[in-house]
């Protein structure tokens, strides 16, 4: 069973990487971009029966820094 964890910066936390990407997109002539926020995705290959609680625990203890980041868990049913 696979799951994906999406880690994003909390609202209001300055994202210098997002800003740089935004700037680069504008430099390429993409004018319609209002804002860019960069995050990361971590794919986990898990033993069957791993609960949502277990994955949340992994996020809180390591995968995300909840001082500055939010996380969202997405299970991949057919993987």
């Amino acid at each position: 069973m696979k799951a994906r964890v999406f880690i994003t910066l909390k609202n209001g936390v300055l994202d210098p990487q997002g800003k740089a990407i935004h700037h680069a997109l504008e430099g390429l002539g993409f004018s319609g971009v209002n804002d860019v926020r960069a995050g990361k995705m971590i794919e986990l290959d898990l033993a069957d029966g791993t609960s949502d609680g277990d994955i949340e625990d992994m996020c809180r203890k390591l995968l995300a820094n909840t001082v500055i980041e939010n996380f969202r868990i997405e299970r991949l049913e057919n993987a």
């Binding site: 936390v13 300055l14 210098p16 740089a20 390591l62 995968l63 820094n65 001082v67 500055i68």
Partner: protein, 221 residues
């Protein structure tokens, strides 16, 4: 003073810190590998050095903060043993929950490596009694992720309780309220981005960092 320096894969200021400690205390610090689970008996001071532990994978300091030795460091800190985290060491301490807030990518995105002006905001700490209140120091920084951030309430509390120990005297990395170094609530854990061990003797170009170690020795004995 018996000291220990924690060494992670990717630490690169561990030996500089050891030289500073040995010079000031006259005793070689124990170099403690991250996979060890215990500190040597009688350790009176713990240093977490700068560098790029675990290649900054996931987040700077994230992996190191979960390594076996950090449980022992937490226990020692809880017992009141003074702990300093410098640069990557500061990142490790925030990731380990020993200090509040987080160190994010520098606001200008660039890695910054140069001496910067630092102001001593609180000279009444275990670590800063060798300095005058408000004194300006010149100490090098060398980091990519030194942009200190915490929520407004935490920042107010840090400032109100005198836990902002060092502030940048010039704009460099976007840190909230120009914070360069903070203390924990008990006053025995200091995290700072500037490198006092790299400003230790005249050959370094500036030696303002030396009094931090001398002051510490005076307090700890």
């Amino acid at each position: 003073m018996n000291s220990a320096v924690i060494v992670f894969p990717g630490s690169n200021c561990d030996r500089d810190l050891a030289v500073a400690l040995e010079t000031v205390t006259g005793r070689k610090p124990a170099m403690v590998w991250h996979k060890d689970s215990e500190l040597p008996d009688g350790v009176q001071f713990i240093g977490i050095p700068g560098g790029f532990s675990y290649g900054d994978y996931l987040r700077s300091g994230a992996m190191a903060a979960r390594s076996p030795i950090m449980r022992a460091v937490k226990d020692a800190a809880d017992r009141g043993v003074p702990v300093i985290g410098i640069c990557n060491g500061f990142q490790v301490l925030t990731e380990a929950g020993l200090l509040p807030g987080a160190l994010m990518r520098n606001s200008g995105l660039h890695y910054i490596c140069r001496p910067v002006a630092i102001t001593v905001e609180n000279s009444q700490t275990l670590f800063t009694n060798g300095y005058e209140q408000g004194e300006q120091l010149l100490i090098p920084i060398a980091h990519h992720d030194g942009n200190y951030q915490a929520d407004g309430e935490t920042l107010d509390r840090l400032e109100g309780d005198g836990r902002v120990v060092f502030r940048y005297g010039e704009e460099c990395n976007g840190s909230a309220r120009s914070i360069a170094g903070i203390l924990n609530g008990n006053g025995n854990v200091l995290g700072m981005m500037p490198h006092p061990e790299r400003a230790f003797e005249p050959a370094h170009g500036c030696s303002d960092g030396r009094r931090l170690f001398e002051g510490l020795l005076e307090t700890v004995g």
